[in-house]
């Protein structure tokens, strides 16, 4: 028993250096970034690059400027762009990945070759992918020259240099829209918790809190929301068509990865289950839609989390494809870099970094918690 204790201590001491390193490099640095984001480091150009810059605490000023300041419209467009990009990127990867996985699940001859071809872009650097696609998406070359190969007129779309924007909306409508969206989500959660789990006190309490939050949000949106505009005048944001090319390139790179995740899930479905369903008279379509797809739901969730956080962090692909200075293909991760290391606006860069962290944490933390908890249950 004593030996056991001693070995436990050794075990702790072995892990300790890593804990310290991660403690400093992850948690400590996040703390520093948050502190920096509450300062005015960089606002005074003479102090920006000083060895020990004199900075003042300015509270949430940087965040207020990012969301409601007149000069930071680029950040707001970037946020909107990231949301659009994430939606299309996820849809593309999941759709193509699932299709390829199902095709390969039919065990075609040369299965291994097909699989390897679809997965290889994942082994490339985003910078390599970006460089190739930058060339493929030249307005009068590359993809636009594919139709002439079969006798059709050349494509006209300017891809990365496009200045077009669709689905525009006023930033001033955002608070109300978010409140309504949040209120409806809370209402849904409340209904699920209160109807399905009335017996469980913890779920019941959560349901009641959700119901209250829903009422509060919707009431705010209906009564006060309309009178409150973050900006003194309207500011239109929307989906920049220049992003289509970036979506195509990123799906090209990551669809194979999604396929590999789905294939791992498919190989875990017991053969007997498929046979049973076929014996029961399920058609091929029914086999997939009724039996296999529901069993793949956890894989879809994992894939969405991993792809979603990749998409929020996307930086290198855009940098290599469209360059760091193209405002029409900008994303917050890239703006953070430019703001900080080109513009020397350290505090504002730190604020953008913090916002990115919050967005990623919103996706990842609940997922990590449920994963680790499931392992305890096992």
């Amino acid at each position: 028993m004593k030996r056991q204790r001693a070995s436990q201590l050794t075990s702790f001491l072995v892990v300790l250096p890593s804990l310290l390193l991660v403690g400093i490099f992850v948690y400590g640095f996040i703390g520093r970034t948050v502190l920096t984001s509450l300062s005015d480091w960089g606002r005074d150009p003479t102090q920006a690059l000083a060895l020990s810059p004199v900075t003042r605490f300015v509270g949430l000023d940087n965040y207020r400027e990012l969301f409601t300041g007149i000069i930071d419209g680029r950040f707001r467009q970037d946020l909107v762009s990231t949301v659009f990009f994430t939606v299309f990127f996820l849809a593309g990867c999941l759709g193509v990945g699932l299709l390829l996985a199902i095709l390969i699940d039919h065990k075609p001859r040369g299965e291994a070759v097909f699989r390897s071809v679809y997965l290889f872009p994942f082994a490339l650097s985003f910078v390599v992918t970006g460089t190739i696609w930058r060339w493929l998406l030249q307005p009068s070359g590359g993809l636009n020259q594919l139709p002439p190969l079969v006798g059709l007129p050349a494509g006209e779309f300017t891809w990365l240099t496009s200045r077009q924007q669709i689905w525009r909306f006023d930033w001033n409508a955002m608070p109300v829209a978010l409140a309504v969206f949040g209120g409806l989500a809370m209402a849904l959660l409340a209904v699920v918790d209160l109807r399905g789990h009335r017996r469980e006190p913890r779920r019941r309490r959560r349901g009641l809190v959700a119901a209250a939050a829903s009422v509060a949000l919707l009431a705010w949106a209906a009564v006060w929301g309309r009178g409150w505009a973050p900006l003194p005048f309207g500011e239109l944001h929307g989906f920049n068509l220049a992003f289509i090319g970036i979506v195509v390139a990123s799906v090209w790179q990551m669809a194979g990865y999604t396929m590999a995740l789905y294939l791992a899930g498919l190989s875990g479905i017991p053969e007997e289950l498929r046979e049973a369903a076929t014996v029961e008279g399920a058609s091929g379509w029914q086999l997939y839609s009724r039996v296999i797809l529901p069993l793949l739901a956890p894989i879809t969730l994992s894939a969405m989390i991993v792809l979603g956080h990749i998409s929020l962090k996307i930086f290198d692909l855009v940098f290599a494809m469209a360059g760091p200075d193209n405002a029409y293909t900008d994303v917050p991760a890239l703006l953070m870099y430019i703001t900080t290391f080109r513009g020397n606006q350290f505090a504002k860069g730190a604020a953008i970094g913090t916002i990115l962290l919050v967005l990623v944490a919103l996706i990842v933390v609940p997922y990590l918690r449920s994963q680790l908890r499931r392992e305890v249950d096992r």
Partner: protein, 279 residues
């Protein structure tokens, strides 16, 4: 192995299956074809309207030029990737062993504490990291990047090794334990010799990730210590690009990880699956 699913019903379905598969192959390979073809053309022969055609004269010169220009950067990338992969794999192995086989009070929380580092957007630590690396005098040195990649590699390497070691039966350790072997003796005699597959998975994963990485590289290196990804982005991003050179460079930058992928595909996929947390 018999065919599964709906396709067993007729060869017209089978035909459609292969058609789709081959079409998808074409879509996936097209960009690579373009890369190789453009790299092999003479700069004067690169014309947007004839971009898809094979070169009239094969111009291997682009590769020679890219090779001379990129050789120092490739060396930087190699030193960085090999050192950081080895260091993070070794530390990850010890961590994983401790977490899997010698749980101590609070070890579960400690594991989660380390794991979270895998998901953070590095923009959230970039400014203090930049200051720190400068302060310890490693800015612009390849060793600064080695340190950074080792530390931020710890979560994934620890995770993969822990999940691997959990599967090693305790019975294998008990024999040694009865002989009085402790933490390190068991690691050396029992666990480490069984670790080869996990080491292959982790090193391949880290090699690919670090070789391909861009954000840290562009923030913390100077022209002398630049890894290949930064050099490539600069070459392709310049004004008045002659495209044969960036394409040849892209091929050079892609070759090492592609080679790893072709040679060790199976292990590569295992690392990929571990990256989505499921062990």
């Amino acid at each position: 192995m018999s065919a599964r699913g709906p396709v067993r019903r007729g060869w017209s379905w089978r035909w459609l299956l292969y058609l789709t598969l081959v079409l998808a192959v074409a879509l996936f390979v097209l960009p690579v074809y373009m890369m190789v073809v453009t790299a092999l053309k003479e700069p004067a022969a690169i014309d947007l309207t004839t971009a898809w055609q094979l070169p009239r004269h094969w111009n291997w010169d682009s590769f020679a030029q890219a090779w001379t220009a990129f050789l120092p950067k490739l060396k930087n990338s190699l030193v960085l990737t090999v050192s950081a992969s080895a260091a993070s794999a070794l530390l990850g192995s010890l961590n994983g062993y401790a977490f899997a086989k010698w749980p101590f009070p609070g070890s579960r929380a400690a594991f989660a504490f380390i794991l979270f580092g895998m998901f953070i957007p590095y923009q959230a630590i970039l400014i203090p990291l930049f200051g720190f690396i400068k302060a310890i005098g490693l800015y612009g040195s390849i060793w600064g990047l080695v340190l950074v990649h080792t530390v931020y590699g710890l979560p994934i390497t620890t995770l993969i090794f822990r999940n691997y070691y959990v599967e090693i039966p305790d019975a294998l350790m008990e024999a040694s334990q009865l002989e009085g072997a402790g933490f390190f003796a068991i690691y050396r005699r029992v666990v480490f010799p069984l670790s080869l597959p996990a080491f292959v998975v982790v090193i391949i994963w880290q090699f690919t990730q670090i070789w391909n990485e861009f954000l840290f590289a562009v923030t913390l290196s100077n022209p002398e210590s630049q890894p290949i990804t930064v050099a490539l982005a600069q070459l392709a991003g310049g004004e008045a690009v002659r495209w044969n050179l960036p394409m040849a460079g892209a091929l050079l930058a892609a070759l090492p990880t592609l080679l790893v992928y072709v040679l060790f595909g199976r292990f590569f996929v295992r690392g990929l699956l571990a990256g989505s947390v499921k062990g």
